[in-house]
Every structure is written in C-alpha cells, then in structure tokens.
Symmetry: C2
Subunit: 342 residues, 2 copies
DNA sequence: CTGAAAGCGCTTACAG
DNA sequence: CTGAAAGCGCTTACAG
C-alpha cells in the first residue's frame, strides 16, 4: 500500500479511502490510485485491515461439523456457505469426528484466527468454554444439536417428531417388533430419536423391549453388525428403524446379506443417495440439511448485524418419504418362541 | 497481551516469549505469565501474530472445489483436512460451482485473508491470474485437474486409463454399442475420460458413433434425460459408460424408469454409496478421492516447508470394481434398423 | 535472560 | 477532500 501511495503520489490514507470506497476522494486522485494498484498488482491484506478497523470484522466464519465428508453434514456445510457467500464471507470448515477435545481445539483455533462467528455441531458435554470467546465478541450458533451450559441460538431438526412419525408408520403397517438402531446416546439427535421411538411405541401400547434397541453405533460397520445380530436373534424384529444415514446404510447391507430386504421393513432417519433406486426403495424420514445450514448462518449473520434479542431455537420439520421398505408388512412369525408372557 | 504483561509485571516481549515457547525465559517469570494468562482468560490473536512474524505463516490454507456437498469433492476435502490437521493448520473450503469467475473471486478472497497456500480444483480456462499471488508467497497445488497457463504441482486421477479400463471391461462382455455420458468437455477429467473411451473403442476396432456420446451433462437430471433419450433411440446402446458420480446416478434413474437395469450394462466412473446394494450392483471405476486430497495437501506443505524443486504431477491410479451392472451381456438387438453402412 | 522500541499492513480520528 | 500521525495486537532484532 505504501508503494501504491508513492506511485500515485498521494498519502496512505487516500489509498485506503479509494480501496475501501467509503469516503469521498477527488476523482483524479482516485484514478491515479487505481492505476497504481493496477500497475503494481497490489492486493490488499485483509487481515491487517481487520486488525485495525473499528468493527474488527474479518469476513470469515468457522464451521465445526462431525465430518466434512458425511453427506448430511456436507450439505449443512453447503447451506452455510450459500448464505455466507451472499455476504462475501468465507468459511473455515472442520471435522470434530465427534471428539469433544477436538471440538474445543477447533473452536479455539478458529477464534484465534479472528473469525467473526462460529457455527457448531456440538459434541462436547459442555460448551461453557466458549463464554470467554463470546465475551471477546465471537458470535455462536449451534446446529443439529443445541448447546449445553451455554445460552445461544440453535437450529435443529425435529428428531423426536420425525422418529415418532417413522415408528407410527411401521406400526400402521402392522409391526410390533420394531428395532431401533442408533448412534451414541450422548449425541443429542440420537437420544431424541430414541425418545421419539419409545413414545410412539408407548402410544401404540407396545412395550419397550430393550433387546430390540442397539445404540452406540458409530459407523456403518457397527450398524451392520448390530443389524445382523438382531436379525439372527430367536425372536427377530419384523422392522428396523435406523437413526441416521450411516446406520441406515449399514442396516441395508445386513438385510441384503441375509436376503431379508423384502421381508423386514426399514425406515431410516435422513435421506440417502439412491434410496429410490434400491429395491425396495428406502422409506426415510428426510431432514433438510441445507435448510439447517441456511438458517444457522442466517441467525449468525443477524447476530453479527447487531440483533441482540433472546436466544432462539429453530426447529426444522422432517418429512416422511414412503418408498417401499417402510411399507413391508410383518412376516408371519417364524415359529416364535414365547420369550415374554403376555 | 498488554494486560497479561501488566498483571505478570513483565514486558510484552516476555509474554510473547512465554506464549510462543521459542525462547528461554526464567521459570518464575514464565509461571507468572502463565497464571496471568489464566486469570485474564487471555487468547492470543493469531492474525496479529501472523502480520508481525517473519515467516508470515497463518497456519491456514484455502481449498476451492466444485461443490463441498458433492461426495467426491467432500472426500477430497476430508483428505486435505486430515493432512492439514496434523500440522495444526485450518482449512477454508469453498465451492466454485464450476464457475470460472467464482474460482477467481474465491482465490483472491482467500489470498486476501492471508492463507499460506491454496488447493484448487481449477475450472477457469487460465490460472495465470494467480501468478501475482504466488509472487507474494502463496503456494499453489491443483487437484483433480492440472492447472492451465501456470506451472504448478497437481494431483489427478488416471482418468483416461480408468476410462479405458471401463470400456475394455464392457467390450470384453461383448458390447459394441457403448454410450458415453460425460460432463462438459471443458472439464479436464470429462475430456480425459472421453479420450479414454474413444481409445478403448479404437483398440477394439469399434468405430466411434457420436450419436452415442452425450456430453455437457452438468447434473443428475441432465444425465437422466440424456440416458432416457439414448435408450429410446432406434438403435440404442447396449451399455453405458458414465463419466462421474452424479451422471451415474442420473443414468441409474433412467434405467430404472425404463426397467432396463438388468438389460443394459453400466459402468460408472467414481464409486458411489450403495453401489453394492442396488440390484444389480454397480460396476465402477473407483477413484481414491481421499488420497487425492492427502497427496495434494502433502505437496502443498512440502512447498511451504521450502521444497523448491520442479513442479510435480502426481497421477493416482483407479480401480475397476465389478459388481454386476458392468457384466451384463449385450441384449439381442431388438430389430436394429441399419443406420450405418458397413 | 529481559525490556524498550520499531514495525508488520492497514484504518481512522484529527487538523487543515 | 487530504495528509500526518497514532495505533490495532503482536514479534523480533537490539542493547543491556
């Protein structure tokens, strides 16, 4: 910038004014500055600008999700990016891999890099560690799961409601032995989906059978193994309700391996690619991950714009999409051994 | 930092030395600084640090891909992130949406934010605009496609080789009317895959029939429409070779709609989720997007570490995975009208 | 080993 | 409208 000022024969302040376009500058001087910029190939250093300017805005935000390569979260990412893009804001994206320690390291590393705000899928037990950064002006919005021990905005799917809808759908098809395959109960969405599952069973006067619940499934392989075990049990479920995309995929593999994909019903939480091409089509409770990202980013920017109202919790509805797998009726019980009186 | 120095009763310089841990400081002073940091909840401003330090390293890089939500690119992203993470480097990620103007805007916006390097999936005709930034010390590595009009490192898949393998596989199954469905020819990988397709046809003495080539397919819908058109033609192809993941998915939808998934063979470039659950399983030429990301990031960091050798082009091999769809033999020609003499 | 001082590249009151 | 000067939060020669 010094070089530009020297070449244009003006002061540093004038160069800054021309580049920022926020103060009136005599047209001829402005032109001289512009041609000096051109001639020297000058690029403004935005970080230095941020450091000095009064609002300290860096035009960058951070996004912490479970895994940038998980289709659900990468679509949330896309949603955030689209809103940020409209404001010329760039996004740091990072994967916490569901590790609390890593979430915290990432949040602090992002704060240290001067981002204006953070959109976080929280996985730690307590986000209180962010208080300090918020006092330094960092804005926070949580997505997919609400924060804990911190009062902040959040955007989540209606997990319990979606799960109830899934189970009601299976009950309506005649099922009573419905298994639940879920992620670790410490994950908010996994807990909520199990809650919805149990509520729907209760509403249908079906007793909860903990033997039909498999939780702590962290990936597709774990889900496949759990599903194989359930299907091989003496009194196997006639339907599966799977708590998220990777679990659904794992369960599909298990069903295929046992040749049961046309026999055992399946409803998955999260829509997945090719769900309509597989046979039977996979009935899902679809979330709208892009909308989650959009709304989270909108909330963040409204805070950055100065909106200081109470924290908000936005709940995005889910949609049940029937494609076949969820409409399979219960198989005749194959010589069911009486495991429970009733 | 001033507050910390004041509370600890030391100079700014000493605080800086303790925090950076790169110079010896008397243990008692160090302890005083540490407790002051703790008491005040001090967080270092890394951007100010970057501005002043001699190497100007920001410990952040930028990644420009076609779409953060495309499974292929999001896995490349993951690969880059994993390598960056090991070095405590954070990654800005952004989608160019295959728009040259946007690629350029993003690259400049990232450079303005002081990133140490850029990993780019180039889509513009000419990356010469980056020369200026590179002279300012920005390191550049290209991934998925080589740069144009700029000498720089690149990591790409063996597109032509993979395409040849795909077509040879179909030829071996007896096919001679093999369609190619590809992205815009301006996209390097799309052009390379068509080249491989044509080379394999030539090697099998099959004349290229341009009526069997559909290019410029920018998404799944376009691919579906193109496939439907091909399948409805008077002399339809007996096999399809699809040039990337979204096109494969579009073609699958078309085959399903016509009930031809067990009749017309299909080999897709890129592996996709559930490819092994669909019936028939989808034969693909798998890339290794994570490895692409890993290698690109490794190359970038080696440059940042001072490696100044000649530009390198790393070619990552592809793997044909036979799952069923690619092994379907040609259907008896259904009253083929003679369209061409021969 | 420690501190006073200069300065990274920029913006912004403050005079003029 | 313009420029000289201070200063954002840091690091780093330079003396001591």
């Amino acid at each position: 910038m010094n070089d530009v000022a020297a070449l244009a024969g003006v002061s540093l302040a004038t160069v800054s004014r021309v580049i920022n376009g926020n103060a009136a500058v005599r047209p001829d001087l402005a032109r001289r500055v512009e041609s000096a910029v051109e001639a020297l190939g000058y690029r403004r250093d935005l970080t230095a600008s941020t450091l000095r300017r009064s609002d300290r805005a860096s035009a960058s935000i951070g996004l912490i999700i479970e895994d940038v390569a998980n289709p659900f979260f990468s679509t949330v990412h896309r949603g955030v990016e689209e809103v940020a893009r409209a404001r010329q804001v760039l996004t740091f994206a990072a994967s916490s891999d569901e590790e609390p320690e890593r979430e915290r390291e990432l949040a602090e590393a992002l704060a240290a890099r001067g981002v204006d705000g953070l959109v976080i899928v929280p996985c730690s037990r307590d986000q209180g560690y962010l208080l300090r950064d918020r006092q330094n002006g960092l804005q926070l919005v949580f997505v997919d799961r609400p924060p804990r021990f911190l009062d902040a905005d959040a955007v989540v799917s209606d997990s319990a409601g979606g799960a109830r809808a899934a189970v009601e759908h299976l009950v309506a098809a005649g099922h009573r032995r419905i298994a639940f395959l879920g992620d670790r109960p410490a994950v908010f969405t996994a807990a909520e989906r199990r809650r919805g599952y149990r509520e729907a069973l209760a509403a249908a006067s079906i007793e909860v059978d903990e033997g039909l619940e498999r939780v702590g499934l962290v990936d597709g392989d774990a889900a496949r193994a759990a599903a194989l075990e359930l299907l091989a049990a003496p009194a196997p479920p006639t339907a599966l309700f799977t708590g998220q995309n990777l679990i659904t995929i794992g369960a599909l593999h298990a069903l295929r391996e046992r040749g049961l994909q046309h026999t055992v019903a399946l409803v998955g939480f999260d829509d997945i690619v090719l769900a309509d091409v597989v046979e039977p089509g996979i009935t899902v409770v679809a979330q709208d991950p892009r909308a989650l990202g959009h709304q989270a980013a909108e909330l963040l920017f409204s805070r950055l714009d100065g909106n200081a109202g109470d924290s908000r919790l936005v709940v995005v509805p889910t949609t049940l999409i029937a494609r076949g797998s969820g409409e399979i009726p219960p198989a005749r019980e194959s010589a069911p051994r009486a495991r429970r009186r009733r």
